[in-house]
Symmetry: C2
Subunit: 195 residues, 2 copies
């Protein structure tokens, strides 16, 4: 495949990626003015990785984490965003996302599609240190948006501190314990003030 043909395939992928800007999340901007979309969220968490990388557990490759986070939500173009506090058929969602990954990464030149699909699979499997730190940052951004917005998706989904702890806190604590130590008392104080 010539360089020109590779660019044609790569541009088909990058043009399709543009549609992630129209996928809306449950979280809002920090000022509460509108819902956040998954493209700007992906930028924000990649910036989180760049800035907070020094707090990653030893052995984490922050540049790989940034690449994972740039890719992590692309499957939502076909499969939609599944809010963390919503109820989902997990197996059906995983199947829709895998199908989306096959279609989207399949737009790229074969070797590159295989590499980037493997990076997304690694993120999803959440087993390597890089994936666990990336997944923790993905989980860590939303509560910070909610704190800035005065509640955000916690209020719209009517969840309490225990639910935030089990669905979000436990995941952050797993891959980025230092960041969870910083966030936990702030989340606890928010829910204390609610009562």
């Amino acid at each position: 495949m010539s360089a020109d043909d590779r660019i044609t395939a790569q541009m088909a992928f990058l043009s399709e990626a543009d549609r992630l800007k129209s996928v809306l999340r449950a979280t809002t901007l920090g000022d509460g003015s509108r819902q956040e979309n998954s493209a700007e969220h992906s930028w924000h968490v990649a910036l989180y990785a760049l800035v907070l990388g020094e707090h990653a557990p030893e052995g984490v490759d922050v540049s790989r984490v940034i690449r994972m986070l740039l890719l992590h939500d692309l499957v939502e173009i076909d499969a939609g965003d599944a809010p963390i506090f919503g109820t989902h058929d997990a197996a059906a969602l995983a199947a829709r996302e895998a199908e989306a990954a096959t279609r989207l990464f399949g737009l790229l030149p074969g070797d590159q599609g295989t590499d980037l699909r493997a990076l997304w699979d690694e993120f999803e499997a959440n087993a390597t240190p890089d994936a666990r730190f990336a997944k923790s940052l993905d989980r860590y951004q939303a509560p910070n948006q909610n704190l800035a917005a005065g509640g955000g998706s916690w209020l719209s989904y009517n969840v309490g501190y225990d639910t935030v702890l089990s669905r979000v806190g436990s995941k952050i604590a797993d891959g980025a314990p230092v960041l969870w130590n910083w966030l936990q008392p702030r989340v606890a104080a928010f829910f204390d003030r609610l009562h």
Copy 2:
């Protein structure tokens, strides 16, 4: 400074960065439905770097380019977006952007603020191979959005092929000649069809 104090400063920076999602650009989404914001644009060009890095001139460090592109537009939070086909007082704009960089990177712990400010300064100066490739990708994304949207900012600013060539094409050709070779005939064909 303790890890906890560093995270407090880093989170002040990351919360302020959220405001980039409300800065609108002259370009639209590929489907023409609305203007693109600078946060989702930053995600998109970082993804361009990840996918198109193989076409960079020799010696370019794609991971550094991705970091530059994640940061490159943050100053627009204070200084606003300056559309490429608009008319600006270049010196006044550069002064506003430098002041914005001082305020924003100043939110970070001192050592990190200095490092990331230096990365942004390098991007702006457009003198190193990494900066020139990053700047080329920043310039390369907009015409591709315009082609997808059937004209986009070319039509809203009423510019012709020669203007696109001098303000955009020359910059892409400088830092990413292989990408300009791919794009140039497509841009030329678009303006041919307009007449």
